[in-house]
């Protein structure tokens, strides 16, 4: 892959392809994927009252002036205004038309000629060749007719074809820029500028020059350019693009802000925590840029077809002209050949896939979902099976108290003693237990002399009495006995895959706390939404079977494969691939990276900010599992759009080509139709903008699974004491 592939068009953010149009405008160099984008960009930047942009517009305006005049004089010719007495005028009118047409053809045709030449010396034949050959033939014949006193000239055809193609490409480019609108925030990271505060002075600087420790000011409505710490000011920020969080997040002095989020309602002074190019936003930007600059499989196929089509059409045009020349006057036959060339210009086909893909990618990006490979949306639309990882994907990934078994003490007492001694520990399980106690309003006993026993637990004393919480080994080490009834219940808890923490005081084990991971609130709804779309769902986990079965039961997955090593997961994916075709794997992207890479589509949830380690093709934002069905919908819509686009482009071409070849299509009409087909493809793609937004799981009516883990944030569910207590 050459370096050129990574360049995106300055106007529409689509890849520029093999041959970029490069222009230096107002001191900055820009690359454009096509002539249309070049015009549209300069029209847009014409607002800056800069000379560079005006020059192109002047040329286009003069070209339009000339060709409109040619058209009007030709109209007079066609309405036989110069017959009879005025017939002497005819050669002079022709000469006048030639004088008007020559500069018009030069002005309007030069970009096409240049494109043809640049591609030609690299051995490519592109659609501009068709235009140049067609227009050149019409102009050449007419010039010959002017000086050879022939009866007809076709300067109007030559110039109007150029005009229509130019206008068509401009309109197309305007539509394409709309497609890139959603992507803009993701592509703007390094190109933007930041207001750097240096003592008293405030200077605008490119983001890439911002370094750690610099002070940056952001005004309401601006995008925060750097990761950093708020020094001064208060504002709510919109972090949707980076974290997927759709609600505004309030930031004030001391809060961290993320580059790429929008400062909504107040100015902020931010101390940068790293270089402007090292932010997550910049990483995301590079990743999206890279994804867009590569071509998906459909696009590669379309490109290949277009590559073959152009020489074929050239031959067809020549054949049509030769065939009709036997029965019709030469100029009429030439016009038919010209119509064939113009109408078969395969511009729309080249646009079909990238346009729809970039709209889809932008649509997803607006909600914090990142697509990192161009063809992946098409693949996702074909996926027959979704394999899920368990921990951290379908579950919260943090422990939660699910049961209290006790012997000779009340459950509240057990929790109070456990929380008292464990409140000094940073361990996951310890935090879950103290949080559970707090959630139930239990005041922890005050423990003193607390110290950790590495790998075993914690011990301390309350009113001089020893207290300990930890593993069974800790209890055995202390010589505290475990009542057989409690031991029995604990064994069944462990059988379910729960982790158990023993609590004891006064030389006895008094209770056992069972902890487990819990399913995410949205997991069940997500799984049923996927199944509702006719997709198969399977759980692939490295955890033990009992835990896997418990979670799969709660979220509604029937097909469970537990205790799998990473290799076994890959093997399982292979097996499923044979049964269901394309397989998508959903994981948290941290410990299942290789498996995500192994699947046809790797989807990582919750780690958009850890892109560097990702192997996933699609990254959903933290807590964004619920968006998965919507992502699948978008992918299906993108695939459908690409197909309809291609059908349009090729179908339209074939029908118009046949009409032109049998001589039913005027070249000017053919050019209008052709420009229309590209615009149709753009319009058809823009329908993707109307896809509904993802609907977050409703907060009002939680399903049972939702209830159980509604306290996800603190790692504990606020269950009723009856549900936990067993004793």
């Amino acid at each position: 892959m050459s370096a050129d592939d990574e360049v995106l068009c300055s106007h529409c953010s689509l890849p520029v392809g093999l041959r970029a149009m490069e222009r230096a405008l107002n001191g900055e160099s820009h690359a454009f994927c096509c002539y249309g984008c070049c015009i549209a960009f300069q029209v847009k930047s014409g607002r800056n009252e800069e000379w560079d942009a005006a020059w192109l517009l002047i040329r286009l305006g003069v070209g339009a002036f000339l060709s409109m005049n040619i058209m009007m004089f030709s109209l007079l010719l066609y309405s036989d205004a110069f017959t009879g007495v005025d017939a002497d005028m005819l050669p002079w009118i022709h000469l006048l038309l030639w004088c008007l047409a020559t500069p018009a053809v030069v002005i309007l045709g030069a970009p096409y000629l240049r494109e043809m030449w640049l591609n030609g010396i690299e051995g490519h034949v592109t659609s501009s060749t068709l235009i140049v050959v067609g227009v050149g033939a019409a102009y050449g014949y007419s010039t010959f007719a002017v000086f050879g006193h022939g009866p007809h000239v076709y300067f109007d055809t030559a110039t109007m074809v150029l005009m229509l193609f130019t206008v068509g490409r401009y309109l197309e480019a305007v539509g394409r820029a709309r497609a890139a609108r959603d992507l803009e925030p993701l592509l703007a990271a390094e190109g933007g500028s930041a207001t750097v505060v240096d003592g008293e002075a405030e200077v605008r600087r490119p983001v890439r020059e911002v370094e750690a420790g610099m002070l940056v000011r952001t005004r309401p409505g601006e995008r925060i350019p750097v990761d950093g710490l708020v020094v001064e000011g208060e504002s709510s920020t919109d972090e949707a693009v980076i974290t997927g969080e759709s609600r505004p997040v309030v930031k004030s002095a001391g809060s961290m802000v993320i580059a790429g989020s929008i400062c909504l309602d107040g100015p902020l002074l931010i101390r940068s925590m790293g270089a402007g190019t090292a932010t997550h936003w910049a990483q995301i930007c590079r990743s999206v840029r890279e994804a867009l600059s590569r071509r998906g499989p459909t696009q590669r196929l379309a490109d290949r077809v277009v590559g073959v089509a152009v020489p074929l059409v050239l031959a067809l045009g020549a054949l049509a002209a030769a065939y009709w020349a036997q029965t019709l006057p030469f100029d009429r036959a030439l016009l038919i050949g010209l119509a064939v060339l113009v109408v078969a210009c395969p511009c729309a086909a080249g646009l079909a896939a990238p346009m729809a893909t970039s709209l889809g990618v932008g649509r997803l990006a607006r909600h914090g979902c990142l697509v990192r490979e161009p063809g992946v949306l098409e693949a996702l639309a074909r996926a027959g099976l979704f394999a899920f990882d368990k921990t951290g994907t379908l579950t919260t990934g943090t422990a939660r108290l699910v049961g209290v078994d006790r012997h000779g003490a009340g459950s509240e007492e057990v929790l109070a003693w456990a929380a008292g001694v464990l409140s000094h520990s940073e361990h996951d399980l310890a935090r879950a237990i103290t949080a559970a106690a707090a959630a139930r309003g239990i005041k922890p006993v005050a423990a003193l002399k607390v110290r950790a026993v590495p790998g075993r637990g914690v011990r301390g004393s309350v009113n001089g009495e020893p207290v300990a919480a930890g593993s069974r080994t800790l209890m055995t080490d202390l010589g505290w006995s475990l009542p057989p009834a409690l031991a029995e219940r604990v064994r069944s808890q462990e059988g379910c895959g729960h982790s158990v923490v023993y609590v004891g005081w006064r030389q006895h084990v008094r209770g056992a706390l069972s902890l487990d991971d819990s399913p995410l609130p949205e997991a069940q709804a997500t799984i049923s939404a996927l199944r509702g779309r006719g997709l198969n769902v399977v759980l692939l986990t490295g955890d033990l079977a009992p835990a896997a079965r418990r979670i799969s039961g709660l979220v509604g997955i029937d097909d469970v494969e537990a205790a799998l090593s990473p290799e076994a997961k890959s093997a399982a994916l292979d097996r499923h691939r044979q049964a269901h075709g394309v397989v998508a794997m959903v994981g948290d992207g941290l410990n299942d990276g290789p498996v995500l890479a192994e699947a046809d589509i790797g989807i990582a949830v919750g780690s958009a900010t850890d892109l560097a380690r990702e192997t996933a093709a699609i990254v959903l934002p933290r807590g964004g599992l619920w968006m998965l069905p919507w992502v699948v919908d978008v992918a299906c819509a993108v695939r459908r759009t690409i197909r309809t686009n291609l059908m349009w482009a090729f179908g339209y071409n074939l029908v118009a080509l046949s009409l032109a070849a049998i001589g039913l299509l005027q070249p000017i009409l053919a050019a209008a139709i052709m420009a229309g087909s590209s615009i149709l493809v753009v319009m058809n793609s823009l329908r993707l903008e109307r896809l509904p937004d993802p609907v977050p799981p409703s907060q009002g009516q939680p399903s049972p699974a939702v209830m159980e883990s509604s306290g996800v944030d603190v790692g504990v569910a606020m269950m009723s004491s009856a549900a936990i207590e067993r004793g």
Partner: protein
Amino acid sequence: MTHYLVIFAAGFAGSFHCIGMCGGFACALGRDARGAGATMRRHLLYNTGRLTTYCFLGGLAGALGQVICTAQGVGTAPLLNGSVDVGQRLLAIVAGLLMIAMALQFFGLLQTFHRLSVGFGGSTLAMSLRSLLTARSPAAPLAFGVFNGFLPCPLVYAFIAQAAATAGALPGLLVMAAFGLGTFPAMLMMGGVGRAVAPVWRQRGVWLAGCGILLLGLITFGRGIFPSHAHIGHAWMPGFPA
């Protein structure tokens, strides 16, 4: 010929409306430092560009009208004698209604329609074209005029509807040419002299333009409704192939 004179007059009256939007451009185009001759050339170029676009659009609309009429004629001619007329009458009715709607706008009525007709992103295009106004090239005013002609404007729409109703490329072109020439004096005055017309006069001009368009619209509409005796429209343009 009278027909075109009426349109010229309507264009002249309507140009007081032009002062609102296009007059601003003309002022911005301003005077050339090289003297009155150069200033005159600038503004003539600008207006020529505008006129060309108008004529082109008129020719296009006329041709479209012709296509509609012919298609209608081909489709029904074998069945109904003189049915070529049906298409033209239909066209006249539609064009007449459009013109009446545009005229009502000038009296401050039908504001939604106004937003619809002006809200085609015209202002964005106008903004973008600003670079042309300050460009030094002698061709810049011409280019600007050409683009200016495409900017959405109810006045232009009204006359394009009229041009379409003529159902011929050449008469359509001539309608727009007459209209465009009608707007010349006011626009040249705005640019060359750079003196603002008193708002009272502007308002009167706009009303006058509204009346003119309303009248034309009613006549066009009437031509579609009463084909047998109201041949005023046809009487106006003898000798032109329709």
